[in-house]
């Protein structure tokens, strides 16, 4: 069974006058994969991601999660957000609490866990993200890489089945990116789905097992990396072909 199925999903922001952010988007997302979402700036990737845990609701079309339509009631959203976690592009948008351990504890306490259980979740997530030494630190005194890992720990503490990241690694140095990638690999090894928006074609080639390409609000591809590389039409239409060749030449 597919993890997510988007059927003719359309979404338009109130200020948008031209084409909608998501324009009749249809695709399926398989479970247990390492997925990279590709697309140009403004293609609708972030809007697509915000639909995954019900932060945005489609104007038209339907989204199925494990075969069931998304339930936008208060209880339904709570259940969905426990299973599908989002990490935002800028960790400063996510970290609200003054200290690291308190910020990580926010999700578990929202799940209704006791303080003891929440503490256990905080320590577990901190261990996964290798930030045990930062727990007492104020969030504003962290480096960019540390903030990214704390933001990640904040959602891992909710033990979601699906982890979706919006270009979290974009502003990190190669060491910071490697650390995040290790965390994601470790999480995926627990039979979880990891989905991330990235412009890093190296990540697509060497890390992902599934690729989604969004172009002008439509999903133009959702499949294996090899199939994408073979699909010259889509590669050309989305402009990926030229960039891909350039990236591969750089690698060589």
């Amino acid at each position: 069974m597919s993890l997510f199925t988007f059927s003719h999903v359309t979404f338009r922001y109130p200020t948008q006058t031209e084409r909608p952010a998501l324009d009749d988007l249809s695709l399926t997302i398989p479970e247990g994969e390492k997925i990279v979402v590709l697309g140009r700036n403004g293609s609708g990737k972030s809007t697509f991601l915000l639909h995954l845990n019900g932060l945005l609701r489609p104007k038209h079309g339907q989204i199925l999660f494990r075969g069931e339509p998304l339930d936008y009631s208060r209880r339904g959203l709570k259940r969905l957000r426990q299973q599908v976690a989002l990490v935002f592009q800028n960790p400063d948008d996510q970290l609200f609490s003054a200290s690291v351990f308190q910020d990580i504890s926010f999700g578990p306490l929202n799940l209704g866990l006791s303080e003891e259980e929440a503490w256990a979740r905080v320590r577990e997530a901190a261990a996964i993200c290798n930030i045990e030494h930062l727990l007492e630190r104020p969030t504003h005194a962290l480096s960019g890489g540390e903030k990214a890992r704390v933001a990640l720990a904040g959602v891992l503490a909710m033990r979601p089945d699906v982890l979706a990241l919006d270009e979290l690694m974009a502003s990190l140095d190669p060491w910071g990116r490697a650390k995040i990638r290790d965390i994601l690999d470790g999480y995926h090894a627990r039979n979880k789905t990891v989905l991330l928006i990235s412009h890093d074609l190296g990540l697509v080639k060497h890390w992902s097992t599934w690729v989604i390409v969004i172009h002008q609000g439509k999903a133009v591809f959702s499949g294996r990396v090899e199939d994408l590389l073979d699909d010259q039409g889509i590669m050309d239409e989305t402009g990926l072909l030229a960039i891909w060749r350039e990236a591969m030449q750089d690698c060589l």
């Binding site: 709570k78 957000r81 989002l86 948008d93 609200f96 351990f101 926010f106 905080v122």
Partner: protein, 259 residues
């Protein structure tokens, strides 16, 4: 802001229960404001200095520097109490007057005492506030207010405002650098004023966008209204601070009683 915050997180009393630190600071402030005696203020400054420098390991230079800055503001504020300015010669018994062109400056022993009284007592209260600020991170102050059953909405607002100070400071620094690199501050005065206004406008828009993003991020982690619940911190009990604090309060009361 950054300096105070750095010491608040690194001082030797960092993990001491904020109830003790906050309680002590509050009592010192109450005594300074309530007991109309300048020596109480002076001794409060000395005691707070002993506790901040001796016990919390705050550098004397930092503690003193903060007090001097506050003292300078207080001095400016009390000039009106100490000096009276008039265009005609004032009639004063037991006072001093200086004639500067058409202006007469006058003061008296009573005005000087009132000025010193105001400055010293305000400095004593400021020293207590500095002690709290330098030894207690805002997160602990907020946690303390939560323990004291302050309404959740105020606590949440304080938490978010504190967090946003640093987020917006970063944005402000970025915008100032961006303008500076394009000679934004080497322009004629009116242009500089306009540039500053642009920064203020963009900062306002950024604050709005950030708050929208934060709201989405909170919802994404299961927040659906009510208090922003996070784990409480655990603290230590410091007997030395308790004993010295009690000694300081007794000392201030004794001075007032003695005089």
């Amino acid at each position: 802001m950054h300096l105070i915050d750095r010491y608040a997180y690194s001082n030797a009393l960092r993990h001491v229960d904020p109830l003790i630190k906050g309680g002590l600071a509050l009592w010192i402030i109450v005594l300074c404001l309530g007991l109309n005696e300048p020596l109480v203020g002076l001794f409060a400054v000395v005691w707070m200095g002993i506790l901040a420098v001796g016990l919390a390991n705050i550098p004397l230079r930092t503690f003193g520097g903060l007090l001097l800055t506050e003292g300078a503001f207080l001095l400016l504020a009390t000039i009106a109490v100490i000096l009276s300015i008039s265009m005609t010669q004032p009639s004063m018994d037991g006072g001093w007057t200086i004639h500067l062109g058409p202006i007469w400056l006058a003061t008296s022993r009573v005005s000087l005492y009132q000025g010193a009284n105001l400055i010293l007592r305000a400095l004593g209260a400021a020293a207590a506030m500095n002690f709290l600020a330098l030894t207690t991170p805002m997160v602990d102050v907020i946690a303390l207010l939560r323990r004291l059953h302050m309404p959740g909405v105020i606590i949440d607002l304080m938490t978010l405002m504190y967090r946003f100070i640093f987020v917006l400071l970063e944005s402000l620094e970025r915008m100032v650098r961006a303008q500076d690199s394009r000679l934004g501050f080497n322009a004629p005065p009116m242009r500089r004023l306009q540039n500053a206004a642009w920064i203020a406008t963009h900062l306002f828009i950024e604050a709005f966008l950030r708050s929208r993003n934060l709201q989405q991020a909170l919802a994404s982690r299961g927040y659906d209204g009510g208090d922003l619940r996070v784990l409480p911190a655990s603290y230590e009990f410091d007997v030395r601070l308790l004993v010295l604090g009690a000694l300081a309060l007794t000392n201030l009361l004794f001075i007032w009683w003695l005089i």
